[in-house]
Amino acid sequence: MTDLLHTIPDFPTKLYTHLLPSLEKHLITTTDLLTLDALEVAKRAHLPLLDVRRLASHVVAILQCRLGLKTDNAPSYQNAGEGQAGYGSLRKTGKEATTRLSLISTLDPSIDEALGGGIPTSCITEITGESGAGKTQLLLTLLLSAQLPPPDGLSRPTLYISTEHPLPTVRLAQILKNHPVLSSHPSPPSLNRILTLNTPDLESQDHILTYQLPVALARHSVGLVILDSIAANYRAERSSANTPFALATRSAQLVRLGALLRSLSREHNCAVVVANQVADRFAPVSTTSRASASISVGNVFSSSPASTATTSVPAPSVLSLDHQQRFFTGWGAEPSTPSHNLKTPTLGLVWANQITCRIALVKERDYGSAGTGEGEVAVDDIGGAEWNSRRWRRWMRVVFAPWVKATGERERGVEFEIWSGGARVVNKAAAQSQKAM
C-alpha cells in the first residue's frame, strides 16, 4: 500500500494501521483495492473481510470527494476526508477549465508570437537542441521574465535546477543589465528571487525532486521551474548497460518523473521547462527489407514509378518509429531531408509522451555564401567551408504544442541570435545587408 499515500497524501492511515502492513506485504495496491472484490483482497492478505471493505469504501469516498462527486459509498466516513485543502479540486466547470493561459514571455515579440505568447503554466515544456544552440540563453531569460508582472511574467520567483553546471549568474546579470525591457522596468527582476538546486546524480535528483521541490514550490510560490538538463543524469547512469533491465528501469523512472512534474505544475500552477540534449539518429540498419522501407520513405504519396516498385513493404511500416519520429522529434520532417545525420532528443518516445510541448533549437553553420537559401541542408556541406564560431545561425521550431500551431515542415522556424541581452530574433533585412557587405 505504499502507493496509498502517493495517491491520497493525507489519508488517515491511523485508522487502518492494523491492515496496511499486511496489504503491503502481499503487494496489494490502491488500484487493487478499487478493482478487486474485498473478499479476494481479504483472502490474499489474510485480513478480516469487513475491515478491508471499510478501507476500500473509505478510499473510494475520499477519491470521489476530491473529484467533486457526491459519494454514496460510505457517508459515515466522509468526515475523515473533509476539512482539508484539495477538496473537490480535481473537478472544474467548463468556464474554469477554459480560462486563459498565463504565459511567460521570452521578451522578444517574434519569438513570443511563434510560441503563441510564451511558455504557459501547468504544463511541461521541453527545449531541446545541440549544445550551443541557445537552450540555456532562452532559459535564463525566462528565469528573469517570469518575475515581471503580467502580461510579461507571473510576478513570482523562479527556480533553477541544474544537473550539469551551476547557474551562470554572471551571464544572468549581463542579460538583466542589457535587455531593454528588463533594465528599464519599474519593478526589475532580481537575482535574489532565483532559487537554485543542484542535482549532481540521479539518486539525489530523484530525492530532491520528490521531497525538496514540492516544499520549495509551496514556500516561495515559485512560478517557473527550470530543469537544465533532464538528460544529463540519465545519460551518465545509462552508460553501464543497454540491457532490457536498464532500459525498463529508465522508462519507469521517466514515467514517474513526468507524472511528478506534471502534478507539481498543476498544483502550484507553475511552468516547468526542461532542457534536453540531442543525440545522433541512426539510419535503419541495412537489412534488405529495412533498406527498401527507408527508400520508400522518401517517396511517400508520390505516384512516381520508384515507389510503386516497393509495394512489398507492408502497410504498417508507415507506423514505423523511424518514420513517425521525424514529426515529433523536431528533426527530419522536411520531405527532402536525408535520413542520415538527423538529431533526436534524448530519452526517446517514453519521455516524448510525458511532455506537453517540444521546442527544438536548430543551429547550422553559416558559410556566408549567397547560396544558403531556404531548404538547403547544411549537413551536405560539412567539410566544405571554414568553421567559424561566430557564424552560427540558429532557428527555433515549435515541434508540437497544444496551444499554438507547430512550425511547418518546410519552414525553418524563427531565426534568432544570441546577444548580451539574451536571445533575440534576427532582423531579416539587417542580416541581408550584413551579408552583402
Binding site: 476530491r66 467548463g94 519507469a252 514517474r256 520508400s296 508520390s302 507506423l319
Partner: protein, 383 residues
C-alpha cells in the same frame, strides 16, 4: 443502494442493462435518438459506420462516433489526438448534450477548446458563433483531473449518484495510457525477477498479472457504463514501440491486450506522412501540402481492418480540423498503396487467436515485458 431512485433503471445496479423484450428492443433501435457524434471529418464519420459510404445512398443515417460503445484514438505525441477529441467534444456539446472530459495527463488547453467551440458549425443548420453560445455550451462541459489510476477508477467504475452528469452523451479520457504506465511501471519486479528466476514467487506473479486484470476490469466496466447510459466513450492513448522483424520498431498503442482490444469497438490511429497533391501544373511530385495528418480507422463496429485501415487525411487549423479530399486511389503510404474504403480484406473476427500470435511474434524484451506477455497468452486461453 439508496441511490437507485436517482436513475431510471428498475434493476438494482445502474451498471446492469435493463431487461427488454425483443420487440421493444427493435422499436428502441428505430426510434431512440442514440445519434452518433459527428467528428467533423465527413469521410471519417462514414468509415466509422463500418461500411461503404456509397452503399447508404438512401436516407443517410447520422454518422460519427458511436454511442454506447468505446472508441480509442492513438498516435505519437503532438499528432492531434486531443484536438480531434476536442472537435468531437464541440460537436457533442453543440448537439445539446453534456460532455465529461477527464484529463489523465496534462490539462486541456481551454483557449483551444473555446476556439473550436466558437466557430465549428458541426451540426449543419446551426451556425452560430457568438461568445455567449460558447459559454452556454461550456456550462455542460464537466472537467475532471485524474492524477492516478485509482482516481480514474473511483470516477468511472465506482458508483456515484452525481456521475455521469445528466444528459451526458460523451465521456473523453485524454491520455488514459499515462495512468497505466504510472500504475504498472514496466520494470521493477518483473524485470528483476527475470534476472533472478528463483524470486519469481507467487507474489511476483501476482504483481505482473494485475496489469492485465485491471485493464480488463476497467474496459469491461467502461463499456458497461457506455452501454447502460448510451454514452460514447472516447479514450486517447499514447504509443509504445514494438520490434517487428521486417520493419524494426513500430508504433503500437500503449495499452493493448486481448481483453482491452475486445472491449474497444472502434479504434482510430493518427499518424503523419508526406503528401504531394498531384496537379497538372506542378512537376512530377506534385505540390507539397504541409502538416497533413492521417487518421486510419483500424476497427469499426467491432470489425478490425488490416494495416492502418481506411485512411482519412486532414490538417489542423486554428479552429477546426479540415479534411483533405483527394482521389484516394492515388494515396500511397510508405510505398504501399492504401486501398481506401475497400481494405476490408480480412476480418480479424475473433481477435483472440490472431492477437496472441502477434503477441508472441513481437519481442517486447526491450521493456522487460516478455514475462507478462506470457501471462497474457495464458489468460487468452482461459477466456
Amino acid at each position: 443502494m439508496a441511490s437507485s431512485d436517482s436513475n431510471n433503471f428498475s434493476s438494482s445496479s445502474p451498471h446492469r442493462l435493463p431487461t427488454v423484450s425483443a420487440s421493444q428492443a427493435l422499436q428502441n433501435i428505430s426510434s431512440t435518438p442514440r445519434r452518433p457524434i459527428p467528428t467533423g471529418l465527413k469521410s471519417l464519420d462514414a468509415f466509422l459506420q463500418g461500411r461503404e459510404h456509397e452503399d447508404s445512398s438512401q436516407t443517410v443515417p447520422p454518422v460519427g462516433i458511436p454511442r454506447g460503445e468505446v472508441t480509442e484514438i492513438y498516435g505519437p505525441p503532438g499528432i492531434g489526438k486531443t484536438t480531434l477529441a476536442m472537435q468531437i467534444t464541440a460537436s457533442a456539446l453543440q448537439s445539446g448534450g453534456s460532455v465529461v472530459w477527464v484529463d489523465a495527463s496534462y490539462e486541456i488547453t481551454g483557449s483551444r477548446l473555446r476556439d473550436i467551440l466558437s466557430v465549428v458549425p458541426i451540426s449543419e443548420g446551426e451556425a452560430t458563433s457568438d461568445p455567449a453560445s460558447v459559454d452556454r455550451y461550456l456550462e455542460k462541459f464537466h472537467h475532471f483531473i485524474t492524477p492516478s489510476l485509482p482516481h480514474l477508477l473511483a470516477l468511472l467504475t465506482h458508483q456515484s449518484s452525481t456521475f455521469p452528469p445528466t444528459e451526458t452523451n460523451l465521456v473523453v479520457v485524454d491520455s488514459i495510457s499515462t495512468l497505466f504506465a504510472l500504475a504498472f511501471p514496466k520494470t521493477a519486479e518483473n524485470a528483476s525477477s527475470q534476472q533472478n528466476p528463483i524470486r519469481k514467487s507467487d507474489a511476483g506473479q501476482w504483481a505482473s498479472g494485475r496489469r492485465w486484470a485491471v485493464m480488463g476490469d476497467l474496459i469491461s466496466k467502461i463499456s458497461r457504463l457506455a452501454a447502460t447510459k448510451s454514452i460514447a466513450i472516447l479514450l486517447t492513448s499514447q504509443t509504445t514501440t514494438r520490434i517487428r522483424s521486417e520493419t524494426g520498431a513500430v508504433l503500437h498503442p500503449a495499452i493493448s491486450g486481448t481483453a482491452w482490444d475486445t472491449g474497444i469497438s472502434t479504434r482510430i490511429v493518427i499518424f503523419r506522412d508526406w503528401f504531394f497533391q498531384a496537379s497538372e501544373t506542378a512537376s512530377s511530385q506534385g505540390e507539397y501540402i504541409p502538416g497533413v495528418r492521417l487518421a486510419g480507422v483500424m476497427k469499426a463496429k467491432g470489425i478490425s481492418y488490416e494495416g492502418v485501415g481506411k485512411v482519412v487525411m486532414f490538417v489542423i487549423e486554428k479552429t477546426r480540423l479540415r479534411e483533405i479530399t483527394v482521389d484516394q486511389t492515388k494515396i500511397r503510404l510508405n510505398g504501399s498503396p492504401v486501398l481506401p474504403a475497400t481494405s476490408l480484406k480480412r476480418k480479424r473476427g475473433e481477435i483472440a487467436n490472431s492477437q496472441s500470435e502477434d503477441e508472441e511474434a513481437e519481442s517486447d524484451q526491450e521493456f522487460g515485458w516478455a514475462a507478462d506477455d506470457h501471462i497474457l497468452t495464458t489468460e487468452a486461453l482461459l477466456e
